[in-house]
């Protein structure tokens, strides 16, 4: 075990030279087509269903009437210009907006048919089923191991914690880089590694939905590709909803895309869903003029 923090191998991993250690690098990294279109399948069950959802902060109308069915084991992307409310909509799913006192959700958001805002629903339990990865990597200022173990521990996990930590890190494609320094601080990891740690932390509690709020916006392009690859892997088992500023990213990873826009009314900005459909369609033949303007770069 090395005493010093191994920054050299860290750099290697982030610059994509990890091929020397990993004999089968995924070919998708280099040969990814511009729009994969994903694999949307209408047979997939709707797992999270937005029906006429409005979000308010006090008397400020932040998001207007969003209706989006999110299907199981697909990646759904929310795109749109800044201030269009896509993050607000995302955070209303696992009730992170509850932390903002004045926030209020109208309409219904159901999870497996259960209204997430019904009285008697415990937001703490909701967040154990619907995990979240944030825009800026936010590991706890603790060891790598403790970062992963915290969620399962408070959820009352009784099995072998070492195995769970290993499995979570393996699934987040981080194990090989950190297996020799699990007890060291998570803050010494690079930005990309920290974000994969946060993904490992999110999946350690075995949620079935993962919310990702611009998970790669603070990362360099190589680390971004690694996160995207990871999302592709995780799609086999999880439903992923990703908010992104980066249209290319939405085009590369998602199966379906919701495009949000923003109306400015007397200086107040209200977000609105413009179009929601399969990613391949929204990027090749958008139905709305606004969508086309945005994805061709004429707006936003």
């Amino acid at each position: 075990m090395t005493d010093s923090i191994d920054l050299v191998s860290d750099t290697d991993a982030e610059t994509g030279k990890s091929g020397t250690r990993d004999p089968t690098p995924t070919p998708r990294v280099s040969g990814r087509p511009r729009v994969t279109g994903g694999t949307p399948n209408d047979a997939n069950k709707v797992i999270i269903d937005f029906k006429d959802v409005d979000v308010y902060y006090g008397d400020f109308h932040a998001v207007d009437s969003v209706t989006v069915p999110v299907r199981e084991k697909e990646i759904t992307a929310f795109i749109g210009p800044s201030g269009c409310g896509k993050s607000t909509v995302l955070r209303s799913i696992n009730r992170m907006n509850d932390l903002i006192e004045s926030a209020r959700v109208e309409g219904t958001i159901t999870y497996h048919g259960v209204d997430l805002y019904a009285p008697g629903v415990d937001p703490v339990e909701v967040r154990r089923h619907i995990g979240m990865v944030f825009q800026k990597p936010n590991p706890f200022p603790k060891s790598i191991y403790e970062n992963i173990a915290f969620g399962p521990k408070i959820a009352g996990f009784k099995g072998n914690m070492d195995d769970l930590v290993e499995e979570s890190l393996l699934r987040a494609a981080l194990w090989n880089e950190v297996k020799d320094r699990l007890t060291e601080t998570a803050l010494a990891l690079s930005g990309g590694q920290q974000q994969r740690l946060c993904i490992a932390r999110a999946i350690a509690t075995s949620p079935d939905v993962l919310l990702m709020d611009e998970p790669a916006s603070a990362l360099d392009p190589i680390a971004t590709l690694r996160i995207e690859d990871l999302m592709y892997e995780l799609k086999q088992d999880y439903t992923i909803i990703i908010v992104t500023h980066n249209m290319q990213q939405a085009a590369r990873v998602s199966d379906r895309t919701a495009f949000f826009s923003v109306d400015v009314n007397e200086g107040r900005r209200t977000g609105r869903l413009v179009e929601f459909t399969e990613t391949a369609k929204i990027f090749t033949s958008p139905q709305q003029r606004e969508t086309e303007d945005y994805i061709t770069g004429r707006f936003g």
Partner: protein, 319 residues
């Protein structure tokens, strides 16, 4: 001069070198740093003169008496008078402050920062706490006399002083530093990045788990630093103690006094010892003994601050 380069595309290396060369003294900047340095030196000189004066005056006492000055109690005879009684009184007051003001203050800070909604009432509470921190200490002495002395009496701890004892003094000092403990703890808690709280909630932690496992460990070093500095304030204050009946003259506990008798009996504290010695008619008390007592008081404060720093470094994670 920056304007010297009219056409950048045709500029030669020489032109550029000339344009970016240091050609004038940025006198405002230099003047500013000189002024800052002078003001810093003023502070240091005042501090140094003060310390040097006291140490020079105190030196003969320590030379003649050695440690016996620290280990012997109050006396009317300057040859044998020492500060031991004062040290004990100050330490007991400090202990009561640690046991009372710290837990109450930290809990209040956690409530105000993590639980209290942004209501008008809570903003009022916050402002009130801040105003309390600025209330003159003598007012706390009056509060102590009106409330804590009777309270101690009611608790059956009045003893021979009828409540005007070190317990009432400790409670009064706790009330005095409580607002400062709340403010410094609040600031340390507020400095914890929200992203850490979100991370905790994001994996399904309850509010209590987030505060216990993530907010408090990060805030603790800051809280400790702030609160232990308030301890120095509690030990240095004189005025409130004078109001609530600290002994300013000579006293000695009876030979067969139990610990309870001593706690509930007459008491004094280091700054009070300094105060009363400067008012003694015998010259030695004011001229040599008081400075020596000041040196001891400063020593106790330095030790406490050192302990605070040690404690903070211990709780602060190495990462």
């Amino acid at each position: 001069m920056a304007m010297g380069l009219k056409n950048r595309s045709e500029a030669t290396t020489e032109d550029v070198a000339k344009a970016i060369r240091r050609s004038k003294v940025h006198w405002q900047s230099t003047l500013f740093s000189v002024v800052l340095l002078l003001l810093l030196l003023t502070t240091l000189v005042i501090l140094f003169v003060l310390l040097a004066d006291i140490i020079v005056k105190a030196y003969p006492t320590f030379q003649e008496r050695g440690l016996s000055f620290v280990t012997s109690g109050l006396s009317l005879n300057p040859e044998t008078a020492g500060v031991f009684t004062g040290i004990v009184g100050s330490l007991v007051i400090a202990l009561i402050v640690v046991l009372l003001a710290f837990p109450i203050g930290m809990s209040t800070a956690i409530y105000l920062e993590e639980y209290a909604a942004a209501s008008r009432f809570n903003r009022f509470l916050d402002t009130t706490v801040r105003n309390l921190a600025g209330v003159p200490s003598i007012v706390y002495g009056l509060l102590g006399l009106a409330m804590f002395v009777p309270l101690v009496r009611m608790m059956g701890l009045g003893g021979s002083t009828d409540g005007k004892n070190v317990i009432a003094a400790g409670i009064t000092m706790s009330a005095l530093v409580l607002p400062i403990v709340i403010i410094t703890s609040s600031e340390a808690i507020r400095a914890v990045p929200n992203s850490i709280r979100e991370a905790g909630f994001g994996v399904g932690a309850t509010k209590w788990e987030v505060i216990r496992s993530h907010v408090m460990p990060v805030a603790l070093p800051g809280i400790l630093t702030g609160t232990v500095l308030t301890l120095a304030r509690a030990i240095g204050e004189t005025a409130p103690l004078l109001v609530i009946g600290v002994a300013t003259g000579y006293f000695a506990p009876p030979g067969d006094a139990t610990i309870l008798d001593q706690l509930t009996g007459a008491y004094t504290a280091l700054p009070v010892v300094v105060f009363s010695w400067t008012r003694q008619t015998q010259g030695e008390f004011a001229e040599t003994l008081a400075p020596a007592a000041i040196v001891v008081l400063l020593g106790v404060l330095f030790i406490l601050n050192g302990a605070a720093i040690w404690l903070r470094n211990r709780t602060e994670k190495k990462w």
